[in-house]
Every structure is written in C-alpha cells, then in structure tokens.
Symmetry: C2
Subunit: 195 residues, 2 copies
DNA sequence: TGATAAAAAGCACGGTCGTGCTATTTTGTT
DNA sequence: AACAAAATAGCACGACCGTGCTTTTTATCA
C-alpha cells in the first residue's frame, strides 16, 4: 500500500472517531491535523476540500458499518434469523462507535444543507433501509412472516425504534442495554410472524 | 410592554425560524443581526452571550410548543381522546415549523456537548415525555387501556415513531402526510386498547 | 544510489466567529 | 421640555475557519 493511502486511512480512522464524537461539521481541519500530528496543509492536501473530507469520512464509516453489520449475516439462511442477527449487529455497531451513530447525527445535521454530502447520506440511508426491507420481504416470501405483511411499514417501525432507543437513553426512558428497543422489536416481529 | 421586551420577542421569533431551518449552532449572532436589521452589538446586548441566546430560543420554542400542542387538550376529558388530539397537534407543530422540529435537531446536536443548553434540552424533552406518559397512564387508570399496560413503553414507541416519521420523509419511506406514522400509531393504540 | 515524483510543512490570505469598550441615539419619567 | 436611563450602533480584538501558494522533506523506482 502507498504511503499516501496508508496515512489517508489513518487520518480517516481518527476523523471518524472525532466526527462521531461531535459532528461532521465540527470536525475541523485544524483539530484533525492536531489529532493526527500533521500540519494543516499536509493533511488538507489529502482531500483538497473539507467537503471531500466529509465524504471520505462517510465512506469509511459505511465500510466499517458493512463489515460489522451487514457482511456477517450473508451466510445465514433463514431470513428471520438474518433479521435478528442484523439487529444485534446494529446495536453492536452503536456500542463500538462509543454509543452514537454518525449516520443519524449526520442526517439530522445535513437535512437542511443541500449538496453532495447531503446526497451521500440520503443514499447510504436508503441503501441500508432497502437492505432491511429486502430481508423482511424474504421472510414473507419464505413464509416466516404472514403473507399480507407490509415490509416497508415493518422497516419504518424498526428504524424508528432504533432512533428512539438512542434518543431516549439520555433522558433515561431507555436504558443502556436497549431493553425497550429489544422488547418492542420482539413485539413487532411477533405481530408479523406466522404462527 | 418595554421596548426591550418587544424587540427581544421579535428577535426571538426570527431566531427560532432560523435555528429551526438550520441549527442552534448555525444560528450566528451576525446572521441574526442581519435578519433583524440590527447591529451585531445592539442585538448581542439583549442576551450577553450566545449561550443565553440559545437558551432564550429554546424557551421561546417551548412556549410555542405548549401553546400549539399541550394547552388545547386540557379541556378534553377522555385520556385516550386527549392522546389522539395530542398526536394531531404534535404533527401540526411539525408542519408549522416548516417541517422540522428544533427540539429533535437540537437534542442530536447537543447530545455530546455538555452544558446548560444540553441540560435544558434534556429537561424539556423529559417534560414532554412525562406529560405523554401521564396521559397514557390516565387512559390505563380510566380503563380505556388494558390494565397491565406499560405507559413508558408505549411512549417510548410513540416518540420513536414520531422521530422515524421525520427521518424517513427525506428518503421517501415516509410520505408528507405521515401516513406510516398514523398507521403505526393506530396499531400501537389498538394493542393497548381495552376491547 | 541517485533522480524524480510525491507527500508534508510553512506561511499567508480573507472571512467569520463571539465578545468586549465607547459613543450615540432613543426611550421613559418628572 | 429636560434629563436620566436604557437601547442601539460603531469599532476593534484575538481566535479559528478553509484554502491557496512555495519550500522542504520523504518515498519510489530505474
């Protein structure tokens, strides 16, 4: 691997940490340079613009997300079991990222800020949601879920519960083990399950 | 009313609009001065610090929120009907604020940024959630909901669905009329309802 | 190993930020 | 109408932002 690629990767690891801890906009080139022990201009030349840096951070995050959440379930045959493991991994992802999710904060941050970053976030979110939808649809097709189930409605509710779990931890309505999420997920699945 | 109080109120109305459209941190004293046709220092002297401005904006928002969402339901006797109206008003609030909610964006923005603003947001959110919980509890007590219902779990799910509705509009999984939210809410209530 | 290209640093720029200080204008009261 | 007080404006500051330049250091490969 190139020297450039290597340092670029190291930068992105630190950058993802920082952007996760604060936000994509608070990830400043100066502070990132300090954190990586580089000069501002030396770091800057890797990305040519702040926007490119933000895109690179999101790309890096998505790679990591896939590695943790998505890829490990490919071998699982039962769609329902795949869905369950997916949710477990999804919670793991949250824990591994120091109890936040950069995609969620980024999507709130950029929902009123049009541009390529906004578009990439929307695109990544759409990819993840449609992956979930197809998994639910597979469960329907393989008769693990009831035939007249609405896969999109299921995923809307599932993603909502995930969002809510994060939001409500810091007011104490949800606990650190996501028990309300797990309970609601169980209930959600049972309503869709063929008995 | 004082001149000071009057202009302060005018400032806060514009400030809330701007903070809602972007974010509490992007609400800059300079840009707010331009928007209100004042000098930076003239405006600044009303609040003495940016933090105070942010607190004032949140206060103003919460007043408005109560006016639109909470106060109009006080006269409704049936807790369940109160809950339904509350949800309708809650959606109205979202529409009136140009299809965003400052509390949601602010809570994401400040969840990793300790201080008085963070604390106020958490406090406001907690107040709203406990109001919802007490309404659900009233429905249980008056036997509109089943006796062994969990009011907190209900509100966790309700708030999650609201969050999700907003998040998923911009990827097209939810539509502008919040139909997925309404459908899920109906389902949620029916699961708690005494038949 | 030495030539050449790539990576990193140094430095400067215009801009905007929040926030003080002082001067001026406007308000409210006698 | 005169005067004290309050509201607003003018101006300046140090700090940090993103981003261009030029120079120096480091990596790559014949």
């Amino acid at each position: 691997m190139n020297k450039a690629k290597k340092t670029r990767k190291q930068i992105l690891e630190v950058a993802l940490q920082m952007a996760t801890a604060t936000s994509l906009n608070d990830l400043t080139i100066g502070s990132l340079a300090v954190a990586t022990d580089m000069s501002k201009s030396g770091l800057f030349s890797h990305f040519k613009s702040k926007e490119n840096l933000q895109l690179a951070v999101l790309d890096h995050a998505y790679d990591l997300f896939r590695q943790i959440v998505t890829i490990p379930v490919y071998e699982i045959e039962s769609p329902l079991e795949r869905l369950n493991t997916l949710c477990d991994n999804w919670l793991d992802w949250y824990e591994l990222q120091a109890k936040t999710c950069i995609f969620i904060s980024a999507s709130v941050e950029f929902d009123d800020q049009p541009g390529v970053v906004h578009d990439k976030i929307a695109q990544d979110l759409a990819k993840w949601l449609s992956f979930l939808i197809s998994t639910v649809q597979a469960a329907i097709d393989e008769k693990e879920f009831i035939a007249n189930a609405d896969a999109e409605q299921f995923v809307y509710e599932l993603y909502s519960l995930y969002l809510g779990s994060q939001s409500m931890i810091w007011v104490g309505l949800e606990d650190a083990n996501h028990n309300r999420f797990k309970l609601a997920l169980e209930s959600l699945i049972s309503r869709y399950r063929r008995i």
